[in-house]
């Protein structure tokens, strides 16, 4: 007899649910499922800031931005709401942690000898990819203030990259601001419309996939128009 001992006393840390890596199920007899024990194993280990951040992003992607509350996140992590405050100063700090996690995925590092147009395409390409991958959490990054702690350094790197491509500092600032405004406005509205059913649909790939593709094509077209226009009116005329 297998005895699963679930300790419930204090100070032992939250229960972190360890998922099996998507076990395929080719038959669905009820008896077999029970025999296989396809129940998520629950291992007890101490919670970290990374755990909290990961769970928060998963919660947002599953249930939407409105579902991101300290209490709900705690119940997701099977711990008391106040336990979160050991790893996160406040709800705002939690959002900063999420933004920090997402911003890492952006490609802003400068490339040797790259024209500024290509640098912009590369940066905004990764921005667009992020909107595709995490459409609901994306908004937290997209609308985060420029001077928030996770955003500011990445902005500095991006600016330095543009200057390395030969733009004047003031040109780089304006161009990045303009291009970022375009991408932010486009992608936030796009991501919202894509996830407007309040909960995430399990599989909406084929039909709406075409509409998505189409809108992202418009995104790319607008970006090319913007780059061409900036080159003609801001850079070329110097």
């Amino acid at each position: 007899m297998v005895q699963v001992h679930v300790a419930q006393s204090f100070g032992l840390g939250c229960i972190v649910r360890t998922m099996y890596g998507s076990v395929r199920r080719t038959d669905d007899t009820v008896g077999r499922m029970a025999r296989r024990q396809e129940v998520p194993r629950e291992t007890r280990q101490t919670l970290t800031r990374a755990d909290v951040t990961t769970a928060a992003i998963a919660l947002v992607e599953r249930d939407g931005l409105d579902a991101l509350s300290m209490r709900r996140l705690a119940s997701e992590l099977r711990c008391a709401p106040m336990s979160l405050y050991t790893h996160v100063h406040s709800r705002d700090d939690l959002v900063d942690a999420i933004v920090g996690r997402l911003i890492e995925r952006l490609d802003v590092a400068p490339n040797e000898g790259e024209p500024w147009q290509d640098a912009i395409r590369r940066m905004l390409g990764s921005y667009r990819d992020l909107a595709v991958q995490v459409p609901r959490a994306f908004e937290l990054l997209a609308l985060a203030p420029y001077d928030s702690s996770p955003v500011a350094p990445h902005l500095g790197v991006a600016l330095a990259g543009l200057e390395a491509s030969g733009l004047e500092p003031e040109q780089a600032r304006q161009i990045l601001g303009i291009v970022d405004a375009y991408a932010t406005g486009f992608l936030v509205v796009w991501a919202r419309s894509r996830t407007d059913g309040r909960a995430a649909a399990p599989s909406d790939a084929p039909a709406s996939g075409i509409a998505d593709l189409r809108d992202l094509e418009t995104f790319d077209r607008g970006l090319e128009a913007l780059i061409a226009g900036l080159d003609a009116t801001l850079v070329g005329t110097r």
Copy 2:
């Protein structure tokens, strides 16, 4: 002796504060102020949806978007929270009412024989003006979904105007989407940064006014670049 009778019984409607139309005060002696009775007159009259909407916008501009709650708005109007539900179905409906009020101020009516570039400049100029005038409530309009009840008809009018300027329907749709994305992204971030002190400062005109002007110049420059680029890559090549 002037007797001010403030009825407090039921069913007589909320107290609506009627402001004097910005009475100039060239002297500020305390005694005089009292003698003049420059206290807002409080007249009892029945509340309307328009009253609720007006008060909501004023509340948002004074205390920020986070302050927009049914309970707080009710206390602002000196009535019970539940009284608001006579005029507004829900908080979301209240936001729709605000968006509807703001969107009226946009200039989207088509002009006879106007090139599409000028139509875009006119529409986005009024959009930018709105961000200047109501920077905190602006976000509600800017990020409202395209298919929300107050937004959809105005979008239709704007599209018709662009088509009247000679654009193909598909061109008009793409161009409006791209240009709106740019303006939305730019102005939302701009408006947020302008009002980041959580409460509105009483008079921050001179110093930050220069920075504002500068950023709005960048907005206009970006718009011109975008129009030029769209003309070259989307319209001109046909």
